[in-house]
């Protein structure tokens, strides 16, 4: 919990409003940060369940997963990883500016993060579109044209691909909406007193969403590329 290291109370020029049931601001701050971390633990278990399913099937059908993974665009995935990592930087800068009380810069950083998030989602949508184009989306009984061996496990791979990246994208959309809600406050200069709690919480969330992608990207895009390469 490194975020607690820079507790804003000491530098606060104006005490933030403490809710009625808390004794003081420190208690409220600690409670909120602990609450967010606990929430992230539940998220870890949530994605953990999906990743466990993936692991079991990958172990059971290594070849099918390796071949199916070739159908995903590694360059697009890599680019998206770069985008998302950059967005983590901008949100971290946002938290930093909230600590130092540069409220407007917080607003700009949030806008930058949202923009990067939107780019990510756009590329994701394009990838989904191409999968539908090439009949590689095994949903709703759509036609599934797959030339490789073993279409069954391949369908499971694409099912997991759509499921996991879909849930991840949903988390990103929620994050983008939440950040958008903070922008007006930032431009009203409300973070000038180092009252960074809200920004820190949303920052934690965004970093988590980022981290999930760091797991999803290699699991889905980079499966045994050498193994399934032609000629071997």
């Amino acid at each position: 919990m490194s975020t607690t290291a820079t507790l804003p109370t000491a530098t606060a020029k104006r005490t933030p409003i403490v809710a009625h049931h808390f004794d003081d601001w420190t208690q409220q701050y600690d409670a909120c940060v602990l609450g967010m971390w606990t929430f992230l633990v539940t998220e870890v278990m949530f994605f953990g369940g999906a990743i466990a399913v993936y692991m079991i099937y990958r172990w059971q059908y290594p070849m099918a997963f390796a071949y199916a993974s070739q159908e995903l665009s590694a360059p697009l995935g890599t680019f998206n990883t770069f985008i998302l990592l950059t967005s983590s930087l901008t949100v971290a800068l946002g938290v930093r500016y909230a600590h130092t009380g540069e409220s407007r810069k917080v607003g700009w950083m949030l806008i930058a993060t949202i923009a990067l998030g939107a780019i990510f989602l756009g590329i994701k949508a394009y990838e989904y579109y191409t999968k539908f184009e090439h009949n590689l989306a095994p949903l709703l009984n759509l036609p599934f044209d797959y030339a490789g061996p073993d279409p069954g496990p391949t369908k499971i791979f694409f099912g997991l691909y759509f499921g996991m990246t879909g849930i991840h994208a949903l988390h990103m959309i929620i994050g983008v909406v939440l950040m958008a809600l903070y922008i007006p406050a930032a431009f009203r200069n409300e973070y000038r007193d180092g009252n960074s709690l809200g920004i820190e919480i949303i920052g934690l969330y965004w970093h988590f969403v980022d981290l999930v992608w760091i797991f999803l990207f290699p699991l889905l895009y980079l499966v045994d590329r050498s193994l399934a390469a032609p000629g071997i």
Binding site: D23, M45, A52
Partner: protein, 548 residues
């Protein structure tokens, strides 16, 4: 999540009665939008009582059908829908949210000397999510039911059943979030909201038990959420995750499901254990024997509970060696449970025992939970489980734990804290009578089922062999007694709201912060923040208080 900035609503004109959380405001709005943990506790009480009655009615219907071996009251489809409804409602809408939602919400902040939960609005949201999930289940009930059993085994649930699986799944998914938020709130509250002097080892064991429960809720429920979501995706979007026709593994679903649903058993029973600790201590006027070990036993159960899910799958085709590991771990989890039973029993030693209704329930709990726990050992034993798995033996076992354990503790707790929650006393005579009736009815209902199970009657059977009839008739007779016995408390507790004698701040002469504030407590629990300089259950601080 960003700091609850709730300004205290302006209170209406005070009445003659001292102001408390109940008479602080009278409007419906003041209840539906309340952020007071005590009012939310009462909202939960209303919600789960409703669902308990609904689930009970389903049970009454299919118990009637089981009077005879043939199908006479209903078709198989109806029967299957009824037991599914009973299971889903009782587990997800009564047992899991029951004690944490009602007693936990009401008591934890008071017991630790806080003014409210750490996140009051989130707490209210938990209740709404619970009710929304419940509405989905009600919709399913009205629209035509669901017939998968509460376990939703694939591929039946994902492919073959043509009932309302999706709506049910959505309902449980939403209720799951209610559970997660409650757990999150409990954890943060216990960590950050304790009043000065309230150290971890001064916490009442009810708080410890709910803390352990909250850990399971936070760690286990998300896995249920993703599992249910995958089944819903498979059913709704036709993505095959567990579909054997694609090479998917239906047993994988069982692993994921039990990874939550076995710990969920401890979500249901740990808070009950916490209640029993309070009841036994209060009515034997004694410190809980081996306090620290009981507290650690709760945590041990919470941790070990995550490692034993495979004992539901000994005959599912999982490897024999995996079965052995799960069997050993399931044996180990008996130890902390046994420690607790012995410690509650020994709490009576050198105590000063009064036989009020809550203690009667607690003693009933000790007997029934002991039988439930010991028959759990049968099921953990590989060689026996192969025979009794999926028979009535299992049904009897988990009803001994869930009904004989959790429901007994819940009723005992409701009676014990009723004066605190409502400011009124319940009628003691009626209450003792009902407690005994519940105990008798319960045993008559479920004990024959152990015998049925070893005889080999599979569970979820609508029609059965004639040889099983006598035991089934006994079970149905017991269920009738049990059903009537449950109606008594509901009736006289409602009656007591108006006609019961006014309760003093501490009618049981018990210790604990909840008895140091008025009955019912004021909106923020205490007129000033308490400072704790005493241990939990300190009944012998002043020996002069003690009789004998």
């Amino acid at each position: 999540m960003t700091g609850e900035i709730a300004s205290t609503t302006a209170l209406p004109t005070p009445e003659r009665e001292p102001k408390n959380y109940l008479n602080a405001a009278w409007t419906v709005r003041s209840w539906l939008l309340t952020v007071d943990h005590k009012r939310i506790g009462l909202l939960y009480l209303a919600g789960i009582t409703f669902f308990f009655l609904l689930g009970g009615a389903a049970a009454a219907l299919f118990r009637l059908e089981l009077m005879t071996p043939q199908s006479d009251l209903m078709e198989s489809e109806t029967y299957n829908k009824l037991f599914t409804l009973h299971g889903i409602i009782m587990i997800f809408f009564f047992l899991v949210p029951g004690i944490p939602g009602v007693l936990g919400n009401f008591l934890i902040p008071i017991m630790i000397g806080a003014r409210d939960m750490a996140f009051p609005k989130l707490n209210l949201m938990s209740w709404y999510l619970f009710m929304i999930g419940g509405c989905f289940t009600l919709y399913v009930t009205v629209a035509g039911g669901v017939d998968t059993g509460w376990t939703f085994y694939t591929p039946y649930s994902s492919t073959y059943s043509n009932t309302y699986v999706m709506a049910t799944a959505v309902g449980i998914f939403i209720t799951g979030f209610s559970s997660i938020l409650t757990g999150l709130n409990f954890i943060v509250t216990v960590h950050k909201m304790r009043c000065p002097g309230m150290t971890w080892f001064r916490l009442p064991l009810f708080v410890w038990a709910n803390y352990a429960t909250a850990l399971i809720m936070v760690l286990g429920t998300p896995v249920l959420a993703i599992t249910i979501l995958l089944v819903a995706l498979e059913r709704g979007l036709k993505i095959g995750i567990f579909d054997p026709r694609l090479g998917g593994d239906p047993v994988l679903f069982q692993h994921l499901f039990w990874f939550y649903s076995h710990p969920a058993v401890y979500i249901m029973v740990l808070p009950a254990m916490g209640v029993i600790s309070e009841l036994v201590a209060a009515f034997s006027r004694n410190r809980v024997f081996g306090y620290k070990l009981v507290a650690f036993a709760s945590l041990a159960i919470a941790v070990l509970g995550f490692l034993v899910w495979g004992h539901h799958m000994f005959v599912s085709g999982q490897s024999l060696y995996a079965g052995m590991v799960f069997s050993v771990l399931s044996m180990l989890i008996a130890i902390p449970s046994a420690i607790k039973v012995f410690n509650w029993t020994l709490t009576l030693w050198r105590g000063e025992v009064t036989f009020n209704t809550p203690l009667l329930y607690a003693i009933g709990f000790l007997g029934l939970f002991t039988i439930g726990g010991l028959t759990g050992l049968f099921l953990a034993t590989l060689g026996i489980d192969v025979h009794v798995h999926d028979t009535y033996f299992v049904v009897a076992h988990f009803h001994y734990v869930m009904v004989g354990g959790t429901v007994m503790a819940y009723l005992g707790g409701i009676h014990y804290w009723w004066p605190k929650m409502t400011g009124r006393m319940y009628p003691e005579g009626w209450a003792r009578f009902s407690a005994v009736l519940v105990f008798v009815g319960f045993n008559l209902t479920f004990f024959p089922q152990f015998i049925l199970g070893y005889l080999g009657m599979p569970r979820r059977y609508h029609v059965y062999d004639e040889g099983f009839q006598i035991l089934n008739v006994m079970s149905t007779a017991g269920a009738s007694i049990l059903g009537i016995a449950y109606l008594f408390p509901i009736t006289y507790l409602i009656w007591s709201l108006k006609y019961g004698p006014k309760a003093s701040a501490n009618p049981w002469n018990a210790v604990g912060l909840e008895w140091m504030t008025s009955s019912p407590p004021p909106t923020e629990n205490f007129t000033e923040t308490p400072v704790v300089d005493f241990e939990a259950y300190e009944y012998h601080r002043n020996p002069a208080d003690r009789h004998g």
